[in-house]
């Protein structure tokens, strides 16, 4: 069993463990969006192996996941996730462990057709270099014995696709492919039975092989993008804590009836539209309105799904079932807009529509001309079939998937996820870019007043470090040079603030209401209370990104739901001349539609629920990974972390990919320009056909690697 024989490397232990891992199916899967190297693999695996409940853990770097085999299959992975996040690795539970049986099936077919192709080609070379009579027939029969079962099995995806297309009275790319493979096999069997000179078994197999290579790349790319997109969507909590006779119960969001009392702690998103039962709270409406200031609401107020509770815990009574919540309504509006956008017809589709009728027409005409000129039915049929086989869209089938795979992969390594098949092609032709402000270009932060003494700063840092609340975390960069004071008895009151003792005095950082002050956030140092004002500051790198995009000739707009003054101030900082403030979600959508009506291709970058409609309406769209599920669903590309610097790079790669796709079409066309006359004039030998097809497919694939 031990294949690796290097004595220093392999001991019995890991091999046995590896074997056990292969046999037992993993019980849990965690998504690790940020892992990228060997050190990450090591750290994560070692951390998980140190947990006693875990039998084994193995990281898959390509899929950014770790499969875990736990001793108790029903174990709760939350402590492991916390353990990993303490080490600095963000982790989320995957909804289900996913198999990739479709991929495996394609790779298996690819391998078998490759094996069969090479063996049959060897025999063909022998025939071509002079085998005659009985030897040639023998070789043809052996080729048939390999090729017929192999094509039957390997080309099955093409046959079944073509069959369902014909049943629906449509023509797709698979119809000419299936026809060419089928005819190549049939005519070869006929020739072999009649001791003919030409058998096209090798051509049938190399067609199958190269087309399967294209399909495999395509499937691999899509499954990667889809699974990762589904994982991001899973970040949104799907469970709600309800209060039944004072007892907290966790329930699925779809099971919550109207009038249920729900319990929300600080930082949670309101899952369903509800009436506030608690006396008062503070909520963050930025997801819906783009407004960056939080607002105070009192008992009986309406809470809208999607808002974030800043100050909690609170209880509320739901007013709608989950299917009618504001969040869901927005998602539905977005899907209507998406349907209206219409399917962008990809370059490959357009090429295919042009291709099939031209080729079928050509081979029919070619066969008929030969029949009328020579009266030889056999020769005429052979010419028609040779034309069909030689022009079979091998290179065309690889041209787009190969480029898309390379480009998607490079973008994924940058840390962005391409969700839509046609996103790259659309991104490549973008002319105008509109940014949302709140959450996309800016984030909210507390300011450390300039007049604070060193001691005050030290205490403030100690308090801020004790909480994971985004606002207290936002204080830390400004206090980077300060050593935290040894504040004793630190205690976090959820939704209110942090309390501690320093030199016999009370120190607190928290909401104004908690301390008894007017301001929304305050820092209490002994008897003095300092209000902390809030600012919106630019996400690091935002300025550079905007300048880069402007330098590259994109027309950049700022579109915000926020007030005119703050939007304009931010735009001045960023050097954006075109500012559109106080925009409702519908106004943003109209804005996008208006720009596109002028023939511009607009890229929308936004994260909030209020951007969802605009994201869907736009020619192409990007959402940061922190965005709401609805926005991520609407976007073509999701930036896994909020780093905007990836946008210019992604656009550049998309342009490069489009160039390569067009080049590949040109290559495929020039190959056909040479091959079709040869086939029509009756000079094409089967070996020539197989070699020419292989050569063009390889050229196209190599050209795809030039995407960078």
């Amino acid at each position: 069993m031990s294949v690796a024989a290097c004595p220093g490397c392999v001991t019995a232990g890991p091999t046995a463990e590896r074997l056990a891992h292969d046999i037992a199916l993993p019980t849990h899967e965690l998504i690790l969006p940020r892992i990228h190297c060997l050190a990450c693999i090591n750290a994560v695996e070692q951390a998980l192996h140190s947990v006693p409940d875990i039998e084994s853990a193995r990281v898959n770097l390509s899929r950014k996941r770790v499969s875990i085999l736990a001793r108790n299959p029903a174990a709760d992975p939350t402590p492991w996730i916390e353990h990993l996040s303490a080490l600095g690795y963000e982790a989320h539970e995957a909804r289900q462990t996913q198999g990739n049986t479709k991929m495996q099936g394609l790779v298996l077919r690819l391998g078998i057709s490759g094996f069969a192709m090479m063996n049959v080609m060897l025999l063909s070379v022998a025939v071509w270099s002079g085998a005659t009579d009985a030897t040639r027939d023998l070789f043809h029969w052996i080729s048939a014995a390999i090729a017929l079962p192999a094509t039957l099995f390997c080309a099955e995806p093409f046959f079944s696709n073509a069959w369902s297309a014909i049943k629906a009275r449509r023509l797709n790319m698979d119809v000419p492919i299936a026809l060419a493979i089928f005819l190549a096999c049939m005519v070869s069997v006929y020739e072999t039975m009649h001791s003919g000179a030409h058998a096209y078994f090798d051509a049938a197999l190399s067609l199958t092989f190269f087309l399967l290579a294209g399909r495999t790349l395509d499937a691999w790319m899509r499954s990667n993008a889809r699974s990762a997109a589904a994982d991001l969507a899973a970040l949104e909590p799907r469970r709600v804590i309800t209060l039944v006779e004072g007892q907290q119960q966790s329930r699925a969001i779809d099971d919550i009836a109207v009038g249920t009392e729900i319990h929300l702690t600080a930082g949670m998103r309101v899952p369903l539209d509800a009436l506030l039962l608690s006396e008062r709270t503070e909520i963050d409406r930025s997801a819906l309105t783009g407004e960056s200031e939080t607002s105070i609401v009192l008992q009986g107020a309406h809470l809208t799904a999607g808002e974030i509770v800043v100050c909690g815990p609170i209880s509320a009574r739901t007013t709608v079932p989950s299917s009618q919540s504001t969040l869901r309504r927005m998602v539905e509006l977005a899907s209507i807009a998406e349907a209206a956008r219409g399917r962008y017809s990809s370059l490959a589709d357009r090429a295919a529509q042009l291709y099939a009728p031209v080729i079928h027409g050509l081979s029919l005409v070619g066969g008929m001309v030969w029949f009328f000129l020579t009266g030889d039915v056999h020769k005429a049929v052979m010419v028609a079939i040779a034309t069909l086989i030689i022009t079979c869209p091998c290179a065309l089938g690889l041209a787009v998937p190969a480029v898309a795979t390379v480009a998607t992969n490079r973008i994924f390594r940058l840390g962005a996820l391409v969700k839509s098949d046609t996103a790259l092609e659309r991104l490549a032709t973008v002319t105008t870019i509109a940014f949302d402000k709140t959450g996309t270009l800016t984030q909210s932060a507390l300011i450390v007043p300039a007049n604070f003494s060193i001691e005050e700063c030290q205490v403030l840092k100690a308090l801020a470090m004790a909480s994971q609340h985004p606002l207290s975390q936002s204080l830390l960069p400004a206090l980077a040079d300060v050593t935290a004071a040894a504040v004793s008895g630190l205690k976090e009151y959820r939704g209110q603030g942090i309390w501690g003792r320093w030199n016999g005095q009370d120190v607190r950082l928290g909401s104004g209401a908690w301390v008894g002050a007017e301001a929304s956030t305050v820092f209490q140092f002994g008897k003095t209370i300092h209000p902390l004002s809030r600012t919106e500051h630019l996400i690091p790198g935002a300025k550079d990104t905007i300048r880069q995009l402007q330098d590259q000739g994109y027309d950049v707009h700022l579109v915000s739901g926020d007030k005119q003054a703050s939007a304009a101030a931010m735009a001045r900082d960023l050097n954006i001349a075109k500012v559109h403030a106080e925009m409702t979600p519908e106004a943003k959508q109209t804005f996008v539609a208006d720009i596109q009506a002028k023939g511009e291709h607009l890229l929308m970058v936004g994260d909030g629920l209020n951007d969802t409609l605009a994201l869907t309406q736009a020619w192409a769209s990007i959402a940061p990974g922190s965005a709401l599920e609805a926005s991520q669903n609407a976007a073509d590309i999701v930036l896994l972390d909020g780093d905007l610097a990836k946008i210019p790079e992604t656009l550049r790669l998309a342009k490069s990919a489009r160039r390569r796709i067009l080049e590949n079409f040109a290559l495929a066309a020039s190959y056909n320009a040479v091959a079709i006359p040869i086939a029509l004039s009756g000079f094409a030998s089967p070996l020539f056909a197989a070699l020419a097809m292989s050569l063009s497919s390889i050229t196209v694939t190599l050209n795809a690697l030039r995407v960078r």
Binding site: T11, C37, L38, F115, L138
Partner: protein
């Protein structure tokens, strides 16, 4: 031409052997994480003897 009777079966047999090996690697999941395996080649297996 009698040599063909020996050589052709041998070549087919070797080819089938390679195909069998390929199917085995596929079933053993050796293509599941190409990037990770490339990275793992850089570290010694006996480091994680747990």
């Amino acid at each position: 031409m009698n040599v063909l009777v020996v050589l052709v079966p041998i070549s087919l047999f070797l080819g089938l052997g390679a195909l069998g090996a390929f199917v085995w690697t596929l079933k053993a999941g050796q293509y599941d994480d190409l990037e990770g395996d490339a990275a793992r080649a850089l570290f010694r297996d006996d480091d994680k003897s747990n």
